[in-house]
Amino acid sequence: MQITEPLVKVEALVKRYPPSRANSRSEIAAAVDGISLSIFPGKTLALVGESGSGKSTLAFCIASMEKPTSGRIWIDGIELTAMSDRELRTTRPKVQLVFQDPAAAMNPRWTALQIVAEPLVIQNQIARSEQLDRAQELLQRVGLSADAGSRRLSEFSGGQRQRLAIARALALAPKLLILDEAFSALDCSVQAQMVNLLVELQSSTGITCLFITHDLSMAALLGDQIAVMERGKIVEGGDARDVVLHPLQESTRALLAASPRMNQPSDIPQNH
């Protein structure tokens, strides 16, 4: 039997930010405070936690957008933390991010095809016509209609914009897709469509995902593993089933208790 190596390996990662001027009396806070984790190829790790727990900082470090203070990160067997800035340029395409508000990172005057083709244009490793063909293919992959390519951002709904963002993120065939609260601002019915899209993409391409959310239901839908973050640390982690059904830590139990439920006892006395 062949032993599978993790696609993403993080070891004792620490990221501290210098104190802001307004806050100079406070100690230097560690946004990520000694995190170790692994994500295996084709799997999804759901990272759950409240705002300020350090989820996004961890993602930025993995995507080489932030330099860790200490600790080591490997992607696909390559140690990012041992690379120079110039070398990182060649590895960055392996990790792509999708954020909560994709429109903030898209040019409103461009067509959808231009938006999705942009990473290919920047890399410039295939012919122009091939770039556009590939972008057109990606639009279909994420479930946008054939004529979507010529439309501009304002003509797309929130869910469709998120599909565009995913198409663009897939353009350079990354190994790891990081979704940072990517579905949080969408309507419930659109969230369900996006969950299905992600599951389909993962089964057809085998891409590995880091899914960041504050919503434990979303984490349970998509995560093979769930890690719960609090104040820069992973306080609980394991198979999704174990974490949701048999939480060991108080903070996981608190998150579960606060999760929206359709079948919960009402806050309102029933006698009025």
């Binding site: 919503d215 349970a220 059904l245």
Partner: protein, 327 residues
């Protein structure tokens, strides 16, 4: 329960930069009773925020109330003078919006901002206004009131800012509180705390609460009754428990089916296709004669494309606009 707000046959349009008219509400009617929590359930483009701003005549530029009636306590809101309206806005009917950071003044202390709301409606001297503001803040913050009182908005967390907005809204003891997606940008624990706060304040003050959201799970927790908006129409209305347990309109049924009930239930759908509503909501600027949900409806019949269904009662206090029930 006496009626506090009566909305009848409301039609609202928006006009875009090219003067193209886009209907946002088409014949919306409902009644809000004293002391109840009415949930308004609707997704983007359903008209839910247009509804909340129409009730206080706070429509965005380009918005126009074509016809209808909004009656509060014997007043017709839609025909009142601005001066009369100022006595109602914030005092008798208050509203809490989603983005607390946009609704607060960045360079005024929180206590002062709450005191100004009080000053706008009551003739009290400065000291009395500030004292009252402190009292109101104490209602929404269990501790730390002193620090919050003299803080600037940027020194507070998102949840704390939302609490300040709620304090402003209840400061004059309104009969009606409208909350438009009040927890949409908050994380799970804070959302849960803010919802509990709404329930507590509603009980203590006996206000009628109109809670507007896209998330049925929020209404499962709080609402007495639910009004379901789709493409500017009320498609179903009834007691919250009944609607959430046995939805009748195909839109509500499919929406609830696409959601997982809880994190535990979500495990059962792990990486399995969720049922979804296919397609996107109708473009309302394109005139079409049939039911607005017909293009996405699994139960579509011939007549659905021909005219719009009318609202029929399926049982007491429970009405649906769908040809399946007569329509």
């Amino acid at each position: 329960m006496p009626t506090v707000l009566e909305v009848r046959d409301l039609h609202v349009d928006y006009r875009d930069a090219r003067a193209k008219i886009k209907p946002a509400l088409e014949g919306v009617s409902f009644t809000l009773r004293a002391g109840e929590i009415l949930g308004v359930l609707g997704e983007s483009g359903s008209g839910k925020s247009t509804l909340s701003s129409t009730v206080l005549r706070l429509l965005a530029p380009g918005g126009k109330i074509r016809s209808g009636s909004v009656r509060y306590d014997g007043h017709e809101i839609l025909s009142q003078s601005e001066r009369e309206l100022e006595k109602i806005r914030g005092a008798r009917i208050a509203i809490v919006f989603q983005e607390a950071s946009l609704a607060l003044h960045p360079t005024l202390r929180v206590g002062e901002q709450v005191a100004r709301v009080i000053g706008a409606h009551r003739s009290l001297d400065r000291r009395a206004r500030l004292n009252k503001a402190r009292e109101v803040l104490a209602e929404v913050f269990r501790d730390d009131v002193g620090r919050i009182f003299s803080s600037y908005p940027h020194q507070l967390s998102g949840g704390q800012r939302q609490r300040v907005l709620i304090a402003q809204a209840i400061a004059c003891n309104p009969a009606i509180l409208i909350a438009d997606e009040p927890t949409a940008s908050l994380d799970t624990t804070t959302q849960s705390e803010i919802l509990s706060l709404f329930a507590e304040l509603q009980r203590r003050h006996g206000m009628a609460l109109m809670l507007i959201t896209h998330n049925p799970a929020i209404l499962a927790r709080l609402a007495d009754r639910i009004l379901v908006l789709y493409a500017g129409r009320v498609v179903e209305e009834g007691p919250a428990e009944v609607l959430l347990r046995s939805p009748q309109h195909p839109y509500l049924r499919d929406l609830l089916r696409s959601m997982t009930d809880s994190p535990e239930a979500a495990l059962l759908h792990h990486k399995i296709n969720l049922p979804t509503i296919t397609g996107v909501a109708l473009d309302l600027s394109v005139n079409s004669p049939g039911c607005v949900f017909a293009p996405r409806c699994e139960d579509r019949m011939d007549e659905c494309a021909q005219r719009e269904p009318i609202t029929v009662a399926v049982e007491e206090n429970h009405a649906v606009a769908c040809f399946k029930y007569g329509g």
